[in-house]
């Protein structure tokens, strides 16, 4: 008897008991579906976070005052505008640097009033952080030097303050001072650390001299919230980080053994920190998926064991009319493979569907990967095969009369 004939016998046997075949498949469907969906969500979260960090700009180095967990919680130091000038000089042409100062202020447009984080920036800031202008124009060097009262809004701020209207050319009040809107930024979406789109940007010199007042001055020196740098070549990032740290030590009279009271973080360091977090997340989801695969596997195992035991008499009968042991085994192999393959395929579709629904909900862009599909499918198929073939093997080894008398 050839393989084709055997496949037909197996399919006929499956079709003869549709409910049992369906239930057996269900175990595989759920197990495979859960693994595919959960792994996709985990992977999607990981790459989502990664790509958003990359969206911040390219080859970024960020300098901010504050304590860092990396330097053992040293006393935080204050960052001055003078530090920016020193760093700019130190890095020269190897990087573009942009200082910024952030403070809260009340913004009013007509009847709409809200508190915003106002960021005083230098024209390079938009370049370093990779923002593009959607409408109007960017802050220019002359805006800065002339201390012009101009403002560039993030896409979300523009919507919040102006609804759907074009804000370019309109006036808004910032802490009672009138500013004219010159541009709106392209949306970047959420970074996972608050929105990057609810910005209100003004020239930094305008801020120091007209808006921030005492908040931006300490001991007669102008303060900064941070400095954003963008290295021209990614190979130089580590070198630049060292150079920036060295400059800061020199500026603040810190020796090499003193703890640096600044956070100097490259994008790669951010990525590696975040990827540690998201790898843990994926592992957690994977563990949940593994549990559901296990439960699914136990379901398959249960039904396969019962169904083969229940069919011991059938096996006896088939042997009594002349079936050889290998033929019986092959029939069961084909049956379980058919169930595993179809169940697995449906499970993959189900998992994919769940991934699509999750993506459509906008929370996480779930990523279905080939290796996860293979993993889920493979484990379900192996479980199904083992627990189908093993009892069939036992039954096929019985003398026909014993199998026929099996209760």
């Amino acid at each position: 008897m050839n393989l084709f004939e055997n496949i037909r016998i197996a399919l006929r046997a499956l079709a003869a008991n549709k409910l049992r075949s369906g239930l057996t498949m269900l175990g595989i469907i759920i197990g495979v579906g859960a693994v595919v969906a959960l792994m996709a969500i985990g992977q999607g979260a990981t790459s989502g976070i990664t790509s958003r960090v990359q969206d911040l700009g390219t080859n970024l180095i960020s300098v901010s005052s504050g304590r860092s967990f990396q330097n053992g919680g040293a006393q935080s130091q204050v960052l001055y505008y003078a530090d920016y000038l020193a760093i700019q000089k130190a890095v020269g042409n190897a990087a573009i640097s942009a200082p910024y100062f952030q403070t809260q202020a009340n913004v009013i447009n007509g009847s709409v009033s809200a508190t915003y984080e106002i960021t005083g920036v230098d024209p390079q800031f938009l370049v370093v952080r990779a923002y593009t202008i959607a409408k109007g124009r960017s802050i220019s060097e002359s805006d800065n030097s002339s201390e012009a009262r101009v403002v560039v809004l993030g896409s979300q701020s523009a919507i919040d303050l102006f609804g759907g209207l074009n804000p370019v050319g309109k006036q808004i009040q910032v802490d009672g001072i009138s500013f004219s809107v010159i541009g709106v930024l392209e949306s970047k979406g959420s970074t996972g650390f608050g929105s990057a789109d609810d910005l209100v940007l003004i020239p930094i010199k305008t801020g120091y001299n007209r808006l921030f007042g005492g908040r931006a001055v300490s001991g007669g020196k102008q303060l900064l919230s941070g400095i954003a740098l963008s290295a021209i070549q990614s190979s130089q990032i580590d070198f630049l980080v060292t150079k920036v740290e060295y400059t800061l030590r020199k500026q603040h009279n810190l020796t090499l053994t003193d703890n640096l009271g600044f956070i100097v973080l490259s994008q790669n360091q951010m990525l590696s920190t975040l990827s540690t977090i998201s790898t843990t997340l994926t592992a957690l989801l994977g563990a949940i998926a593994a549990i559901s695969l296990l439960v699914g596997g136990i379901g398959i195992m249960n039904i396969m064991l019962v169904s083969v035991r229940e069919r011991t008499r059938e096996i006896g009968l088939r042997k009594a009319v002349g079936a050889r042991r290998n033929i019986i085994l092959m029939q069961f192999m084909v049956e379980t493979l058919t169930l595993s393959v179809f169940g697995g395929l449906i499970g993959i579709l189900l998992g994919w569907l769940i991934a699509l629904i999750v993506s459509a909900s906008g929370l996480i862009t779930a990523q279905v990967t080939f290796s996860n599909i293979l993993l889920a499918f493979g484990s379900a198929a192996i479980i199904g095969l083992f627990f189908g073939i093993y009892p069939a093997y036992q039954a096929a080894g019985l003398r026909p009369i014993e199998a026929l008398r099996y209760e």
Binding site: A16, R318, K319, L404
Partner: protein, 253 residues
């Protein structure tokens, strides 16, 4: 021709050993129609299972058409079952949720018979048992007698040299049982098929040419029936007592 000598079959039930067959020797010629009778537990079914190559003896020899059966391995036994033996069970043992045709085709599938020949042979077998019109019916849509006839068609489809039946009428009413026995007689007379069946019913046994009486795993009687009953003979006490006497005489002999 079937020839068994000094067959012994020992079952182990927990601590105790049960001798289901105790030194059974027996010869059955081609074309014979034989009934095996005896009380329950006398070893009738065990003997049938061994003759049908569904079980193997603990000791003893079994020759079928000159071939030593007790030495064969699993696959060789499957080949014998497929080519030389048709087996009919008390419980019919049809595959559930399958049609009469599919059941009858089964032995041919395992024998590698293909396509049209397979269908034709299965149809012929169903015609012989008078079920040609019901071949598309599923087993649960058939009456007990019809199911047993499907089982007989399945046993016949490979043109076996011997048909073995273990209590073939045990699950049927007397009228249907008589029909099955009539079918056996027809197959025996018209096709020369060797038929061996187990029954506990002396009336059913009386339709054969030879009655073998088994008790406690031993043959205690082996008689020739001079005038077998024809199928359709009414069942009367008179006949039953005659048969009963004959069996007892055989046992004494």
């Amino acid at each position: 021709m079937i020839e068994v000598e000094h067959l012994i079959k020992v079952y182990r039930v927990g601590e105790t050993k049960v001798r289901a067959l105790d030194d059974v020797s027996l010869k059955i010629q081609d074309g014979e129609m034989v009934a095996i009778v005896g009380p329950s537990g006398s070893g009738k079914s065990t003997l049938m299972a061994i003759l049908g190559c569904l079980d193997s003896p603990t000791r003893g020899t079994y020759l079928m058409d000159g071939e030593q059966i007790e030495k064969l391995n699993d696959n060789q036994l499957a080949h014998i079952r497929s080519h030389k033996i048709g087996f009919v069970f008390q419980q019919f043992n049809l595959l559930p949720r399958t049609t009469a045709m599919e059941n009858v085709v089964l032995p041919l599938l395992y024998d590698g018979v293909k396509g049209k020949a397979r269908q034709e042979r299965a149809q012929t077998a169903l015609q012989i048992v008078g079920l040609a019109e019901r071949m598309k019916h599923k087993s649960n849509q058939l009456s007990g007698g019809e199911q047993q006839r499907v089982a007989i068609a399945r046993a016949l489809v490979n043109n076996p040299s011997i048909l073995l039946a273990d209590e073939p009428t045990g699950n049927l009413d007397t009228h249907t049982g008589a029909e099955i026995v009539g079918l056996f007689q027809r197959l025996n007379r018209e096709k020369g098929l060797t038929i061996l069946y187990v029954t506990h019913d002396p009336f059913i046994a009386r339709h054969t040419n030879r009655i073998i009486h088994l008790e406690d795993g031993k043959i205690v009687g082996d008689i020739r029936v001079e005038k077998p009953l024809e199928a359709g003979t009414p069942r009367t006490d008179d006949i039953l007592s005659t048969v009963g006497n004959q069996i007892e005489e055989g046992a004494r002999a």
